[in-house]
Amino acid sequence: MSTTVLDVQARNRARIKVPHKKAIAIFVAPFATLFTLFYLIPIGYAVWQSMLVIEREGTYGEPREVFGGLSQYAQVMDSGPFWESVGRVLLFGVVQVPVMLGLALLFALLLDSPLVKGRRFFRLAFFAPYAVPGVIAAIMWGFLYSPNLSPFKPLTQEVGFLSADLVLWSMANVVTWVYVGYNMLIIYSSLLAIPTEIYEAARLDGASQARIAWAIKIPLVMPAIILTAIFSIIGTLQLLAEPQVFRTFTSAVSSTFTPNLLVYTTSSVPNVSLAAAYSVVLALATFILSFTFLKVTQRKAFQ
């Protein structure tokens, strides 16, 4: 008896599915079209472009693009400036991302704690820098750091914020300033989603606010922290606006300072095939790094 019912249900389900396929296709079509046009095709084009090399005869012969296999990739692997720039942003990320997320978490916990007054004001105040476009923020900080144009001249003339030794960390400060509030908001909204009964239970068990934060809030918002970490890792590898703007303030930022700046410089030569190869390698590196981070943290966070 029961098997017959199941059979009928299964058959019904199978029959119902057929008309739905069309509807699904209609709903998916707009996304699929845009996804193909602006995502898959450009990626395919970039990968194809990265495999072309130029041939010509004579000093001013007409250039012809021919398939060159992976020869551009061999150049990428050999490129000193590329790996230096990757090393530079990794160093940047290892220091800046934990500092920024630590601050974001701290601010989120403070906003969420019952001890703080003026919660709405602080929420807005912390978030405001994110509303400043990245380029404008970099220009503003460039002026603040400048030894001659800064309003804090006595300080900036003593400390070379824009010198070769410090400029990377001056940029880290700009990035932190812009993104702390954004990350804070993601973590904070995840804190708001925690059911209040849990806190009540904790308080009945005699837990202090600090204990609640450490043992309940942080573990429960771990997924949000991991999400912000991944965004930050990607953002770090793609650093472009800050170094580009800082080039107008100091000699210490070379045209190959970050991987993206190197891609931009290479494409302006113009050597677009090599620039495409750099981009593909950078994209793969970003993917591997983000995915590894996710795999490592996932085991702890989602258990």
Binding site: T256, S267, V269, T286, S290
Partner: protein
């Protein structure tokens, strides 16, 4: 788990979007590829031309043309200077097949555009070929890229170099205006004692440095038709580099990046006293350092040997017809008018201090007048003399954007304390050879 997939797809999406943006292949010719003499014919009816330039006040000059030529209307678009972004735009537009008909291109960038097959040969137009006599010899040599009967841009202006200096400060402090580079180094020490800097060495202005090498009779490239010779580390080039390296090492020159607010401020505040620059630099000082009006003078560049008379050249442009333009005849007519007619040349000089590339242009009445910003000195007399002292043998390479980037990065390193200027040139020599080979451009051993 939803976070996982979302984050991963973001991880994928973000960098590749950039990869897509940056991938446009250099012009491979296409249908509009070759030009033959027949292509330089007037079109039927009215023609509209697009023109991209970064010359201040160019709109006014174009308006004059448009009023006089209802059938050839030019719409002008202005952008950042060439290496500041306009060249990149041109390369992208050429790739996309929607480049403007006419573009401002400096002499040093012509080989780069030629090697990417981005220029029409306007030498096929009779009126253009007939105009050769009107131009200063070396400008025609640079714009024809050494090809007989060819021309890849109508020479517009030149940038003979001289020394702008704060005559008031030199006088007040009893420092003599240097006439040789040795004297310049001595004066640099004296200026430093007063707290200022004699000049600024801008690591990004590699074409200024090339001007110094040009003045020292050095050359960076040669093209014999079969292959290129790359000579960034020629003895003259290395000597000039060693000279500036010494001044930087001893903190006798400032090292602000050029064309920035910091740089303007250094001149405006009187911290930096002189600038070895081209004739068009007269405009840059006037706009960048308005508070110092009336305190500047112009003297011939310091010489490498006593009694020598040699000048470098920095910049100067041509008006080129970009590949794919369907109106070669009309475009070349406009380019000729813009760069040979007295009314256009006068306006270009008044608006932007452009210094004409025609021999007749050098005698424009406006060029013999005193200039208020320079204490009413007739500064163009100095540049007129310098322009006759510019060597015609300096050749630009086919990948100057890359050369400038690489030398500039090396110089920036030297300024921040790692390496020296000569070492930067040696490194750029090998990276330039590699860049040429990457574009399949033959390089002589």
């Amino acid at each position: 788990m939803r976070i996982t997939t979302r984050a991963v797809s973001v991880a994928l999406l973000a960098p590749l979007a950039l990869a897509a943006c940056s991938s446009s292949d250099p012009g491979d010719g296409g249908e509009g590829g070759t030009t033959d003499a027949g292509a330089c014919e007037p079109s039927d009816g009215a023609v509209e031309l697009e023109f991209t330039s970064w010359i201040p006040g160019i709109e006014g000059v174009v308006d004059v043309w448009n009023e006089e030529n209802p059938d050839i209307q030019v719409s002008v678009q202005t952008g950042p200077n060439g290496n500041g972004g306009t060249y990149q735009n041109f390369f992208n537009q050429l790739e996309a097949g929607n480049a403007p008909d006419l573009g401002q291109i400096e002499y040093d960038a012509l080989p780069n555009f030629r090697v990417q097959d981005g220029l029409e040969n306007i030498g096929v137009c009779e009126d253009v070929a007939a105009a050769q006599d009107q131009f200063v010899d070396w400008t025609w040599a640079q714009a024809s890229l050494g090809e007989e009967g060819a021309l890849y841009g109508v020479p517009q202006d030149t940038g003979p170099m001289a020394m702008f200096y704060r005559s008031d400060l030199f006088e007040e402090n009893g420092i003599e205006v240097p006439t040789t580079w040795d004297e310049f180094a001595t004066a640099a020490e004296q200026v430093r004692e007063t707290g200022g800097y004699i000049t600024n060495f801008s690591q990004a202005d590699i074409n200024q440095f090339a001007g110094f090498v040009w003045q020292a009779n050095g050359s960076w490239f040669a093209n014999d038709g079969e292959a290129w010779t790359v000579d960034l580390d020629s003895p003259e080039s290395m000597e000039v580099a060693a000279y500036w390296d010494d001044l930087i090492e001893r903190d006798l020159v400032s090292t602000y990046p050029g064309w920035t607010t910091e740089w303007d401020n250094a001149y405006n505040s009187g911290e930096v006293w002189s600038w070895n620059s081209a004739v068009w630099g007269a405009n840059s000082i006037a706009t960048g350092a308005p508070d110092t009006a009336g305190s500047w003078s112009v003297a011939p560049s310091p010489q490498w040997g006593e009694g020598e008379q040699s000048a470098g050249n920095w910049g100067g442009s041509t008006i080129a017809v970009l590949k794919g333009s369907e109106h070669l005849y009309e475009a070349s007519q406009f380019a000729l008018w813009l760069n040979t007619s007295e009314e256009a040349l006068t306006m270009l000089n008044e608006e932007a201090n452009l210094y004409p590339a025609t021999t007749a242009g050098l005698e424009l009445p406006v060029l013999s007048e005193g200039v208020e910003f320079y204490g009413d000195q007739a500064i163009y007399d100095v540049f007129a003399e310098a322009s006759t002292q510019v060597s015609a043998d300096f050749v630009w390479g086919p990948t100057m954007t890359q050369v400038y980037n690489d030398v500039s990065d090396g110089f920036a390193g030297a300024i921040s304390g790692s390496g020296t200027l000569p070492e930067a040139l040696t490194a750029a020599e090998s990276s330039t050879v590699a860049a040429l080979e990457a574009q399949a451009i033959p390089v002589a051993e």
